[in-house]
Amino acid sequence: MDIPAIELIHLTRDFSIGLRNYKLRALQQVDLIIPSGQIFGLLGPNGSGKSTTIKIILGLIPPSDGQCQVFGKPAGSRESRARIGYLPENPVFYRFLSGRELVRFFASISGMSGDTLNTATESALDTVGMTEHADRRVRTYSKGMLQRIGLAQALVHDPDIIVLDEPMSGLDPVGTSEFISILHDLCARGKTILLASHLLARVEEVCDNIAILNKGQLVQSGTVESIVEDNDISNLWVRGLTSPKEIALRQFLKDADLELLECKTGRRSLDDVFLDALHENKKVPPS
């Protein structure tokens, strides 16, 4: 059996607050397995324990009880940290550096040097599509470019696991779409991606598995399909349903003792309309 990328075993974390050492439980007995080679979504409202879980996985804080293992090694060990890349929420890196210098800095911090460093830097910039803008100062980047250069620094040491904290917050639909495309490419290359996000529609679109945390407890986990499907209800997508045919269909369902819950005209998502409009606009040459 494959070793899971990340395994949380009865993970508990308490924080001491105030002079009286009042205990605040941020995580309580969380058991979770994140298989390798998947995009895994970690969901939950503010204060649910997502950030604490990520910090424990990164080895930035130790668990109060239980274990966190990264490819079978304890989180925080040198071996586990070398296999993880991290993109924080709303990153503000050294703004006086160029994108290339920033990625090179993180490659150097990760222990790379010489040709390996140069190759890894260019490869990471290429993966996120930032080669063209790599010599500009970070302070001149747009939000989308900042996220992509942030992803490049997370990728530069070729980690097996990439942890992304709210990577799509603040991105426009084009930026989000491009970011998702990069995530799919990375997943196809065998990387495990752990994604914490509030954008549920995006998570549903991009993730293979999800886990939902609430008040420090794991309330649900599994494949996206298994969590969102409702076996009692079926959807029929019908083209050319004119009024007389609809009446006939309703009668047929009634005769078959089936309840029709809703019948409405098909809709496209606003994101799809927006992206198509931009795509069409690109095709029209400027007058």
Binding site: K55, P62, R78, S108, G111
Partner: protein, 273 residues
């Protein structure tokens, strides 16, 4: 231990510090004060005129250096925490003490630049003033010891390094930049007044007072031993102490910088970032 990573962190800290607006403004103010020091004195002439410029310059280096140490260290430390750069760095294969060592080295290098720039300008101003005085008096005896001006700024740099380590120690414990600055300035004041603890120790009549004085004089570093401005700079045959005295100062610097840095590492070890 990976020296390369420490140097990398130090370089990045130095680059950030040099670009900090506060550093630029304070360096400019210091240089302006040094340049205009001659205009502040009204009545003194001859050697005392030089003494005034020297004291004024030394005072500016000390005062602005201490402010820079505390503010820049605190700003850079909390910028990295607040902007989450520290998380990106520390999630990699880098030890927390290496991260802190980089900060210490980077800010110390920045203060070295400050000391050398202000020291050089002060030397130039003094040389110019000396030339004018010698021309007026017709004498040829050198009045200024430029080497001692540099010795003074290097001694200040040693003191600044202790203060940087002290500020890092406070920052590792605290949650805000403002609190770090306030506590650090109070601690520096206590260190400058450490000789009072020695007085308490010598003068106390009760054993409790004596014990308290001993604890205070042992724990609190005496930063006033670096303030040798009255004995340096002018060729007036004032002895500033032997080579052994300078050696003891170096030992003092190494001991307290290491101690405060070790405490900073201890407090930062399990800090939530």
């Amino acid at each position: 231990m990976n020296l390369r990573r420490i140097v990398l962190m130090g370089r990045m800290t130095f680059a950030e510090g040099v670009r900090a607006r506060f550093f630029g403004v304070l360096l400019l103010i210091s240089l302006s004060i040094l340049l205009t020091s001659n205009f502040f004195q009204q009545f003194d002439f001859g050697t005392s005129e030089l003494k005034f410029v020297l004291d004024f310059g030394f005072g500016a280096v000390q005062l602005f250096g201490i402010i820079l140490c505390v503010v820049i260290t605190s700003q850079i430390f909390f910028n990295e925490i607040d902007q989450r750069t520290a998380i990106s760095i520390l999630s990699r294969d880098i030890a927390r003490w290496e991260f802190l060592a980089g900060k210490l080295i980077g800010v110390a290098a920045l203060l070295l630049v400050f000391c050398l720039v202000t020291g050089t300008l002060l030397s130039l101003v003094l040389s110019l003033k000396e030339a004018i005085i010698l021309k007026e008096s017709g004498e040829s005896v050198s009045l200024v010891e430029i080497n001692e001006v540099y010795l003074f700024v290097i001694l200040q740099w040693l003191k600044f390094s202790i203060i940087i380590a002290l500020t890092l120690c406070v920052a590792s414990l605290s949650q805000s930049s403002l609190y770090t600055m306030a506590v650090s300035f109070l601690a520096i004041l206590a260190c400058e007044l450490q000789y009072l603890a020695n007085d308490i120790y010598l003068d106390a009549e009760s054993s409790f007072g004596r014990a308290l004085g001993w604890v205070l004089k042992t724990v609190v570093p005496n930063l006033s031993i670096y303030n040798l401005g009255n004995q340096l700079g002018l060729n007036d045959n004032t002895a500033f102490g032997s080579a052994g005295f300078l050696f003891n100062i170096c030992l003092h610097f190494i001991f307290y910088t290491s101690t405060f840095f070790a405490l900073a590492v201890f407090f930062f070890r399990n800090r939530e970032i």
